[in-house]
């Protein structure tokens, strides 16, 4: 069933907005600079709401069902967070208002800085970065600025494990540096021998290393302290990709493990939600070595304007800051949600969150590992990676993508597929702590049923999904035809 685009239900003269009459005299419009046409849709309010309600009904979210998308921490998003971010005392604030009129907002930001410092074991946190990759770029620029401030600005080599998120190498090259890839060992950890050799080889040029811990296999890097020590010995700094912080809340603080800088993903760990692809928020924490290089403005207590028992909060830039990484102060609306989440959980709730995320992942791993190959059979953290369907099923040309598409028919969102790159046919599964044992069992049963189906009728999997808003979509055609917008006169197919 084809769904019309909003342009296709447009009829001349309709409008869904009611605007006031002009209450001032008309000024003369600038000659030659007024546009002639603006072909936007013309719809009534009722039609508009039906259009977007229909679109929402063909979208799958955590509110719809289980969403075990590895590396993305698709946990339940508490509704109180949404309500608090919509308080008029927050939504109506202009970023350039006088500091005296925004003390509530600044107190909240200051508190979240402190909470994240404590959770991560850092000396300072800047809330400005807008997303995880933005936090990475920020951290890499801070590492670069640190070396430059010491007259060591020729350092340009970043070590990155082969299991890393693609954003790590991309952030490094955006900062004008070279990537040297470090292989993983047979346990799924960083190959320490290869790391030592790379540090020796690039010692004079070493900026540092970017490490995700737990790594993208869902495994805690057991040698993390030794890795940090080796990199530090060669004058490098340790960057932590905090995408997997959900496993570490109240369990371990990256700052205590030896990381110099790390980004948090508020939209993952602190459930602020993902929004169908943003807005995220990627605050960056720094050790005493890097704290002066954080981007700003940050919030501090201004002793000169404070009174006893009444601190005054001000915006400020750290002394050796890399500068602003975006306009204004960060994604404040997202920051309110993360603050609410941390206040609702408290220190004990945060630790229980990590413990149950890890419990759920290990339980699901145990239920699946006898049927689906598990390349690294260890206690996992918040997620685990399977190597696709069993070999006899793969021999019938049924692959990870087919399993993923068939899961849709069972009412589940598929896991992350074909990542990390070091596992062929990877199925990366992150259940999160907010799922019940019954949900995990239903998902495991579906995964096992799908293998049975594949053995019985491989084409059933090739053709899946059958019960989704769309059948399998042709991505090759999309890239070849490159239709990136609707054109007047385009017909519905």
């Amino acid at each position: 069933m084809s769904r019309p685009l909003i342009f296709e239900i447009s009829r001349p003269g309709r409008c869904a907005a009611s605007l006031p009459e002009r209450d001032v005299p008309a000024a003369e419009l600038p000659e030659g600079l007024v546009r002639e046409e603006l072909p936007l849709p013309e719809v009534s309010e009722g039609e508009l709401i039906r259009h977007y309600t229909h679109l929402s009904q063909i979208n799958y979210g955590v509110d719809t069902g289980f969403y075990p998308l590895g590396s993305c921490t698709m946990k339940y998003n508490p509704k109180i967070n949404e309500a608090m971010a919509r308080l008029p005392g927050f939504t109506g604030l202009h970023p350039y208002q006088d500091e005296e009129t925004i003390q509530g907002a600044l107190f909240l930001m200051y508190s979240l800085q402190e909470f994240l410092e404590e959770i991560g074991g850092f000396a300072g946190v800047s809330l400005q970065p807008a997303a995880g990759a933005h936090g990475e770029l920020t951290g890499v620029l801070m590492m670069r600025a640190y070396h430059e401030s010491r007259g060591d600005g020729t350092r340009d080599v970043m070590l990155i494990p082969d299991s890393a998120h693609g954003t790590n190498p991309a952030s490094t090259s955006m900062s004008g540096m070279q990537v040297v890839e470090i292989p993983s060992d047979e346990r799924g950890d960083v190959d320490l021998g290869a790391l030592k050799a790379a540090c020796e080889e690039h010692s004079d040029r070493l900026v540092g290393m970017m490490l995700t811990n737990p790594n993208t296999l869902g495994l805690f890097e057991k040698q993390v302290e030794e890795i940090c020590a080796v990199v530090h010995e060669h004058g490098g700094l340790m960057y932590g990709d905090g995408a997997n912080m959900n496993a570490l809340l109240g369990v371990a603080r990256p700052g205590d493990l030896g990381f110099d800088v790390l980004h948090f993903n508020l939209h993952k760990t602190f459930s602020t939600p993902h929004g169908g692809g943003g807005p995220g928020s990627g605050p960056v924490g720094a050790s005493p070595t890097l704290v002066d290089f954080l981007p700003g403005p940050m919030v501090k207590i201004d002793p000169e304007r404070s009174e006893e028992d009444l601190p005054f909060f001000s915006l400020w830039m750290p002394p050796q800051t890399i500068g602003r990484v975006k306009a204004f102060y960060g994604h404040f609306g997202v920051i309110v949600k993360a603050y609410t989440y941390i206040r609702m959980l408290g220190p004990r709730g945060l630790r229980r969150t990590a413990e149950h995320a890890v419990l759920n992942a290990n339980y699901l791993k145990e239920r699946l590992k006898e049927t689906y190959p598990l390349p690294y059979d260890r206690t996992c953290m918040h997620e685990f990676v399977l190597a696709g369907p069993p070999q006899d099923v793969q021999d019938t040309d049924v692959h990870t993508m087919d399993v993923a598409k068939r899961l849709i028919d069972y009412g589940f969102h598929p896991p992350t597929v074909y990542f990390p790159l070091i596992v062929e046919e990877a199925l990366m599964i992150e259940p999160t702590e907010t799922e019940s044992q019954e949900t995990l069992d239903a998902f495991a049963d579906a995964m096992l049923d799908i293998v049975a189906e594949a053995r019985d009728d491989p084409d059933l999997l090739h053709e899946a999904p059958f019960h989704a808003p769309a059948r399998r979509l042709d991505e090759v055609k999309a890239a070849r035809d490159l239709i990136l917008r609707w054109q007047p006169g385009d017909d519905e197919p």
Binding site: P30, Q97, S173, R253, G276, G277, M344, R348, K405, H413
Partner: protein, 444 residues
């Protein structure tokens, strides 16, 4: 424990299946000395307690809704129809991830495809991406796109000093490792042309500029392109409801802050960076693109496309590191543009224009005030004041509950004692009358 469904019995059964006696034993890979730190955080609140605390923090602020506001400078108080929040409050939209599995993400994908189309119409460009973090980062990504178009062979960026000061700063932050020379003009647009040469990757101007002024950009576009540089325009989408789109002047890239398109002020974010290009640059674009295709039954559908440009495929050779963008904000902007539509967008822009001109005329007539009128302006204008702007603003706030304009002297030493005032469709005539009365009184 909030949000965790496990009963004691569930936990025991699951641990037994895993084969460990307790939750603690799952963490033996974590170095013992660092394991289970005692976090010094305030204890948990109930939902009632959290609500009280957050409400008291919200109440400790004075908002733009409580008085009259004439502050803009990159964040604007525009009307947000109720339909916008109704749509983006739907859990099916906001609790989804980036649409990696298109068969269950057609809602997000179609909405973004429609957003891309509307941004193309508004800017007069061929291709829009799915969004950037904000106007400032979209501007910085435009610089990187221009550098990539020139395959890193051109190392100079010319940027008008009347591009938002924070955007210029973000461009410098983003590119600090790339060995570029960033040149700002000192003369305004006339001076920009003289700085262009065959090492220039792009020329960036703002439309309307930071002082609210606009002009025909054709000559600048031609001058930039004559040297082979890309012409980048940072545009206000609300102004484009009335003004000629930058695409008609020949812009190669149009970026900007989409906050005015239904997003509210929110103390600076989350906002929306929009990013549109001419078709010839499509393979150098940063960020997500949604494209149309068909499913196996021939029905129209939508997918993320050209992902070979992106970090998860191309890693260190990607056009950008961007991953999560502003999906929900793009949806909000699309709902806004669809709600206002062809006529509503024009009417909002005209209301801003007429009200700003009415305010400017009245203020210009006051003793000691003088409005900068060297070029046409849209919804903001610079005005020279007889006292320091910060002192005037203090008096306006305390005596009249008016949030005054932006102090231009902070960024432009030659504009000391100049305020940048912003008037939108949200300012009633009575508010403008009150501002005029207040300005007269606090300077007499």
């Amino acid at each position: 424990m909030p949000y965790i469904p496990h009963s004691d019995a569930d936990r025991r059964a699951m641990l037994e299946r895993i084969g460990v006696p307790s939750l603690e034993e799952l963490f033996e890979d974590v170095p013992e000395r660092a394991r289970f730190p005692d976090l010094q955080l305030p204890p948990a609140l109930s939902e009632i307690g959290a609500r009280w605390e957050l409400e008291s923090l919200a109440d400790a602020n004075l908002t733009t809704g409580e008085g009259s506001c004439f502050l803009g400078a990159g964040a604007y108080r525009h009307f947000v129809p109720a339909v916008v929040d109704a749509v983006i409050s739907r859990g099916e939209f906001y609790s989804a991830y980036t649409p990696y599995q298109p068969e269950v993400s057609q809602g997000t994908l179609q909405a973004v495809f429609e957003y891309q189309t509307m941004i193309c119409e508004l800017t007069g460009m061929d291709v829009s991406n799915a969004s950037h973090y904000d106007g400032a980062t979209a501007t910085a990504e435009a610089v990187i796109t221009a550098i990539n178009v020139h395959r890193m062979r051109r190392k100079k960026v010319v940027i008008s000093r009347f591009v938002h000061p924070e955007y210029r700063e973000v461009v410098r932050t983003y590119t600090q490792g790339l060995g570029l020379t960033i040149v700002e003009d000192t003369q305004g647009s006339a001076g920009v042309q003289d700085l262009l040469d065959d090492d220039t990757a792009c020329l960036i101007v703002q439309y309307p500029d930071f002082l609210g002024r606009f002009e025909d950009l054709s000559a600048l576009a031609e001058a930039a392109q004559a040297t082979g540089a890309l012409f980048v325009v940072v545009a206000d989408p609300i102004a484009l409801g009335l003004l000629k789109p930058p695409g008609e002047f020949g812009a190669d890239i149009v970026v900007g802050e989409g906050q005015g398109l239904g997003l509210g002020l929110n103390f600076g974010g989350p906002y929306l960076g929009f990013f549109a290009v001419k078709k010839r640059h499509v393979r150098k674009v940063a960020g997500r693109l949604v494209g149309q295709t068909v499913d196996t039954e021939g029905e129209r559908g939508f997918v993320l496309t050209l992902s070979t440009r992106e970090q998860h495929i191309r890693r260190e050779r990607a056009t950008s590191n961007i991953c999560t963008n502003q999906g929900l904000m793009a949806l909000a902007a699309a709902v806004y543009m669809a709600a206002l539509g062809k006529c509503g967008m024009r009417r909002v822009a005209e209301l801003c224009y007429h009200k700003a001109h009415f305010a400017a005329d009245r203020i210009d007539a006051l003793d000691g005030f003088s409005v900068l009128r060297d070029r046409p302006f849209f919804k903001e204008f610079a005005v020279r004041c007889p006292r320091s702007v910060s002192e005037i603003n203090d008096d306006l706030l305390r005596g009249w509950a008016i949030i005054g304009g932006y102090d231009l002297g902070q960024d432009y030493p030659d504009l000391e004692d100049h305020a940048l005032l912003c008037v939108t469709e949200m300012n009633l005539r009575q508010e403008i009358d009150l501002l005029v009365e207040a300005l007269e009184e606090v300077t007499s």
